[in-house]
């Protein structure tokens, strides 16, 4: 087994890059939507054979065992080559959860199935009454013999219609004194009576999000991960890496490149007003990257990140939105038209980019919630 951490950063980057260049299917580069598993299966098979499905997992569980510095490089290359992350909820969330809190039986059973994508996971966190205030969740799991019986509703469940399993936060003690208590982590099968999935059509006309209804659905008590009623702190611990990843410059950089292509094709760079607005957003992206590297360097030195990392997410998502809004301005009278717009000899789907940028300030903790966190934890207000 290769010790990736022993390679120099540059050498490691080259190896990752060459593998993507050689093996990643061209038609899947910079995919504009979240694919169903069938669409990316041929790529997943290659990645699995290479042993690269789980860069962050320890090698003993079938991961690459990358240290933070190498992990950042892996994700940077993945992003810049436009490699789709595939159906990685199992890799990103369930695996780390089980590795950290699971029993030996759970590790032996679930981890290989995650790596092979025999099981495809979705995340059951949000509910109609529990969005920003996630601890307000009400979906219940009641012990009945060897089972939990699950009742309630999850929503904004990404790709639930293409998942075999769900990992979910459920209320196991409705009488706990604080709402953060009495929450547990359980794993459940999607294909069973009492689980119903409905897709949600978004403004972009896509159906990547779902509602999941539980009506006396069941899962084994053995599928509880960690201690009962202790799910909240586990869920928070899981988000630590997510917090820098969600603030990475990739989406804004890609949108900026798209804006530049579109604006060149439409001759917008001859206009002094546009030039100033373009320079403004371009510098917003470039300067965000400087702050991002500061946090990435912190990770690379093995330090843990503080709450201040939320600054990245706020800045980059709001910049991302301004870039797509500027594309609409360049489109002029075509600004309300769906589908690719002609610009020189290329087509740019302006509204698709605009729509894609909208939820970025909502998901992963809305920017308002992020500001609350920064205010309290960083500014001491």
């Amino acid at each position: 087994m290769t010790d990736w951490n022993a390679l120099s950063d540059a050498e490691f980057r080259t190896q990752i890059r060459s593998f993507f260049e050689a093996e990643y299917p061209e038609e899947l580069r910079h995919l504009p939507h979240r694919p169903k598993f069938a669409e990316v299966e041929h790529w997943h098979v290659k990645l699995h054979a290479k042993g690269w499905v789980a860069p962050a997992w320890p090698a003993e569980f079938g991961g690459m065992g990358l240290e933070a510095a190498k992990l950042m490089i892996y994700y940077e290359e993945q992003q810049s080559y436009g490699v789709n992350r595939g159906r990685d909820m199992g890799i990103q969330m369930v695996g780390p959860l089980i590795i950290k809190y699971g029993t030996q039986e759970q590790k032996d059973y679930w981890l290989p199935r995650i790596l092979s994508c025999e099981d495809i996971w979705c995340q059951g966190y949000s509910e109609p009454g529990a969005g920003s205030d996630l601890a307000n969740l009400r979906t219940s799991a009641v012990i009945d013999g060897d089972d939990f019986v699950i009742n309630g509703q999850k929503t904004w469940t990404t790709m639930a219609h293409d998942a075999t399993h769900i990992f979910m936060l459920v209320r196991t003690d409705p009488d706990a004194p604080r709402k953060q208590q009495g929450i547990s982590f359980i794993l459940a099968k999607m294909d069973q009576p009492g689980v119903e999935v409905r897709t949600i059509t978004t403004l972009a006309g896509e159906t990547e999000f779902c509602e999941v209804f539980f009506d006396d659905a069941r899962t084994l008590r053995a599928n509880l991960v960690g201690e009962i009623d202790k799910g909240w702190s586990m869920a928070k611990a899981l988000l630590s890496f997510e917090r820098i990843f969600i603030g990475n410059p990739g989406l804004a950089q890609n949108a900026l490149a798209q804006l530049e292509t579109f604006a060149k094709g439409r001759g917008a760079f001859d206009d002094a007003v546009f030039r100033d607005r373009f320079a403004t957003v371009a510098l917003d992206v470039e300067d965000h990257a400087a702050l991002y590297s500061r946090f990435a360097d912190q990770l690379k030195r093995g330090e843990t990140l503080g709450a201040d990392v939320s600054m990245l997410k706020i800045w980059v998502t709001e910049t991302y939105q301004r870039i797509t809004e500027l594309m609409i301005e360049v489109a002029g009278p075509d600004g309300g038209s769906l589908g690719p717009l002609q610009a020189g000899n290329v087509g740019v789907d302006v509204l698709a980019s605009f729509y894609k940028a909208r939820p970025s300030t909502i998901y992963g903790g809305s920017n308002e919630i992020q500001r609350n966190i920064l205010s309290k934890a960083v500014l001491g207000l």
Partner: protein, 369 residues
């Protein structure tokens, strides 16, 4: 950046900050402004002794031999207490030009040693503002023409002038008591003074002449631009700190106003702007050290100044707003920071100017590739 360099920078920051705090911090800036003295000669000597003026020049010249990031650290600390001494103009322009063009001149060593601030006159005014060309002429050892926006020129002090000569540009020294000099001063919002000067057959000592002067000037201006950006980062950092302290203690409706969410979110936005500006300016200074071309160097300088102008102006204005009515009084320090941000933003080009320049330089590089 290696940890050893980080440690050097940390020590430098600490020594400059201690020196300036002991000298009186922001309160000293107010005193100097009220006295109309321009700056404090004793502090100038202290700064020179601490190595501040020679931070980027080699040890043979009496300098510290550190790079632009170190000069940036100093500029941030200068900005933090809005020290009125013209450190950035002297370090980046006067010392920057002398060091590049006539490293053996005794004037260089004297200036680094803290003899006196040394002003440089190079910009000229045309109907639209800053002219793109230098018209002030050196012929037969005398200068004729006008210069504008000269920062840090004391009464009766000598100065450096960049003029057009028969062989490209020339860097000359004009004595403090030279004949044919007419000066006009304009007081700025922070109490500092900009001078415009006319020369009519004024005797000048030629320090350097020829093809090397123009590129040296371009590099010096890029340094001054980026270091002014670093100074602005210090200014806005102070404004943010003052504001955070204020909203934690000022009570209305029986609560600190910082407990209101609308205030909190505005404070968070100021904080984010500050962190982005600081990271960007520091990254730009480091990139300038290793820039492959003069254009790439200038582009980083414009990037830094564009960001710092926007961030410092927005942060200082927000600081006034969050202070409420007392923020509008001269008595509160936050206004001094706003005034400094105005002056430093205007000097060497504001945000709009540098965004335009940044994009032009980006286009040029793209064509070159």
């Amino acid at each position: 950046m290696s940890t050893e360099q980080d440690e050097d920078l940390r020590l430098l920051r600490e020594s400059v900050s201690t020196l300036l705090e002991r000298a009186g911090g922001v309160a000293r800036a107010r005193r100097v402004r009220d006295d109309g003295a321009g700056w404090d000669g004793a502090i100038w000597s202290d700064l020179a002794e601490a190595g501040v003026l020679g931070v980027t020049t080699p040890e043979e010249t009496g300098g510290l031999g550190m790079g632009l990031p170190a000069a940036g650290v100093i500029a941030e600390e200068i900005g933090r207490v809005i020290a009125p001494e013209p450190v950035v103009p002297t370090v980046a322009m006067a010392i920057g030009l002398l060091h590049r063009l006539c490293p053996d001149a005794s004037l260089l060593e004297d200036t680094i040693a803290g003899a006196a601030p040394l002003a440089v006159a190079w910009q000229e005014r045309d109907a639209r503002g800053v002219s793109d060309v230098i018209d002030c002429r050196l012929k037969d050892g005398v200068l004729t023409g006008s210069k504008d926006w000269v920062m840090g020129l004391a009464d009766g002090a000598p100065l450096l002038v960049v003029a057009k000569s028969t062989d490209g540009l020339a860097l000359v020294r004009v004595a403090g008591d030279a004949i044919g000099v007419t000066k006009q001063t304009a007081r700025q919002s922070d109490g500092s003074v900009l001078t415009s000067i006319s020369f009519a057959a004024t005797p000048a000592e030629v320090l350097a002449e020829g093809a090397g002067v123009a590129p040296a000037l371009a590099d010096a201006v890029a340094d001054a631009t980026a270091l002014t950006a670093a100074e602005l980062v210090g200014v806005s950092g102070s404004a943010l700190e003052l504001t955070l302290d204020y909203i934690k203690t000022r009570e209305q409706f029986d609560k600190p106003i910082g407990s209101f969410q609308v205030i909190q979110h505005r404070a968070v936005d100021m904080k984010i702007m500050q962190e982005v500006a600081q990271a960007a300016v520091r990254e730009a200074l480091a990139a300038m050290e290793n820039a492959a071309t003069p254009q790439a160097r200038s582009r980083q300088a414009s990037r830094a100044k564009a960001r710092a102008c926007v961030a410092s102006q927005k942060i200082t204005r927000e600081a006034i707003q969050l202070h409420g009515a007392v923020g509008y009084t001269d008595e509160f320090d936050v206004g001094l920071l706003l005034n400094r941000a105005l002056v430093l933003s205007a000097w060497l080009g504001d945000g709009a100017y540098h965004r335009r320049r940044w994009l032009e330089l980006r286009d040029t590089e793209e064509v070159a590739q």
